[in-house]
Subunit: 339 residues, 2 copies
Amino acid sequence: MAVTLKEVADRAGVNPSTVSRVINEDPNLSIREETRNRILRAIEELDYRPNAVARSLRLKTTGTAGMIIPDITNPFFPEVFKGAESAASERGFSLILCNTNEDPEKEKAYIKLLAEKQVDGILLASTYIQDETIDMAAKRNIPYVLVNRASRNEGSASVVVDDVYGAELAVQHLVDLGHRRIAHISGLLYTETGLERLEGYRRTLNRNQIPFLSEYMVEAKYSEREGYLAMEKLLAIPQPPTGVFAANDLIALGAASAIVDHGLNVPEDISVVGFNDIWLAGKVHPPLTTVKVPLYDMGYLAFESLAKKILGEPMEQDKIVLRPELVVRASTRAVSARG
Amino acid sequence: MAVTLKEVADRAGVNPSTVSRVINEDPNLSIREETRNRILRAIEELDYRPNAVARSLRLKTTGTAGMIIPDITNPFFPEVFKGAESAASERGFSLILCNTNEDPEKEKAYIKLLAEKQVDGILLASTYIQDETIDMAAKRNIPYVLVNRASRNEGSASVVVDDVYGAELAVQHLVDLGHRRIAHISGLLYTETGLERLEGYRRTLNRNQIPFLSEYMVEAKYSEREGYLAMEKLLAIPQPPTGVFAANDLIALGAASAIVDHGLNVPEDISVVGFNDIWLAGKVHPPLTTVKVPLYDMGYLAFESLAKKILGEPMEQDKIVLRPELVVRASTRAVSARG
DNA sequence: TTGAAAGCGATACCAC
DNA sequence: GTGGTATCGCTTTCAA
């Protein structure tokens, strides 16, 4: 059986409340040195360890937050988690990581569970997060921050990347290399991210007087496989593109595979640009030109934002927008003569 | 303010204990249908949500476990975590994920924190985990299972892979391709894993009457950078190897980069074999021949093992040994004439 | 069939 | 300077 505060108090011959005060270093506590030492000694001798559950019940705060993500094996998330975890750890919080496999039911079940566990807050990290899930958190009055997903509701904090700008960077890069037949494999168009990257694509074409052709636009889920399938469609049209802007790196990787499988080369025949700069992006062949998103920072800032909400610290801004940057590697090059 | 059991009881005109019984579906409870319905209605109307913290305090069990890993951005761990999380979720447990960045201090601090939070058990997932850390968990009587690390202590459960066998697979593959000058970039030799893979390497050389040469043996940490550095050493010796067995995929990747940077090719000049088959292994150029370890299963079985310890279910075996298999890709080929 | 009450371990307000 | 005690929300034994 674990040692309790009361046992420590008994051994030191004082009241439990006094022990509690000593442990928590109650600022307005004046205590005789000798008493304090007796208590400290008792703690030491009994190897006393506070029970955080009892403490939480009393204090109505657990020092624990939840983080909901679709899939930790998607290389986007480990970096984000790492950032969030660092921030949490610095502030003495722990994170319960919840993997939903993109199942909305699991998402809701997790919110329910986290609420029952009385977590102090939740990080909702996914463009996929259902509105219903967000509403659940809101309804239960549990502080939350959206990561990589914009907030519809007033007052819900979020950390996102400037997707329009990032997409502009990517597409302009292709234009600068002389490409005119530029396709876009967009993300899901019911996600902010998907929509905004598409917007950046359109704007950039526009600015360069390149007409937007609907057959150069294919929607895909954010996976390698979907990227592959989408690219196959693009390859099938009479005048295939010479450059492809994919909504994320996984899609870009899939697209590159499709290109190769169809007997063409990246970047000789078709240039490919991704988005996010996951760790993998620099390691594949050819190394992927992509738009770098500060994933670690995203997680870190998201938790910081959550902590501020939890602790009632002032927040400069509800919505933090991170600025991405272009990373040029080997999957893009100037359009070839045959292009 | 959240609704409590007592409020529900008041509204239903019954005693809190009765509500509790209904909620927990107390088997030996006989209750009038009408009363039950009144209670259910009250729960519904007040949107009552149980407080797991209070419940935990009373029950002395939290339904939460901790998982300690060195670095979630190391592609080895997301898969393992995913498996563990699935098993946990199936059994109604949540997982607090703790990233230690390989810092022994952080490791110990986390054990302390988890113990205070009264987690029901801990998964220690890393070959790096310090003995001291394990002892801490043991001393506090908190059930734990080691993942990818053998246990010294009697009675501590673990899930590991058969490293000797895996290494034999890798080296024999090289031998079968005609290689005789086979080097090994070992992992850290104070880790079980490092030692056993080295053992498999030696045994296989032996079995094939190939002498073990100490200059063909370089120790490295399990990282890309260290793999690179180690390979440079191997390249510097008069008769460099034609085949390299790296203790894990990250090392193998680094080694491959070093080879290329020195103007040679993989596998034309030097064949490289890795270990683990992380997701990345099949995507790099050239795709890596490696020894596949069932990472997801490893996590899943580890949590199952932990759950059994926690719930006092019978365990067939304390130590679960998973069998790896060879995955031949393009980073190995028959030794060339010039080799 | 249901109620009363003790208690899990810690905190904090109010006394003295 | 230190002690008493109510309380956080829930479970469970014992009664009735």
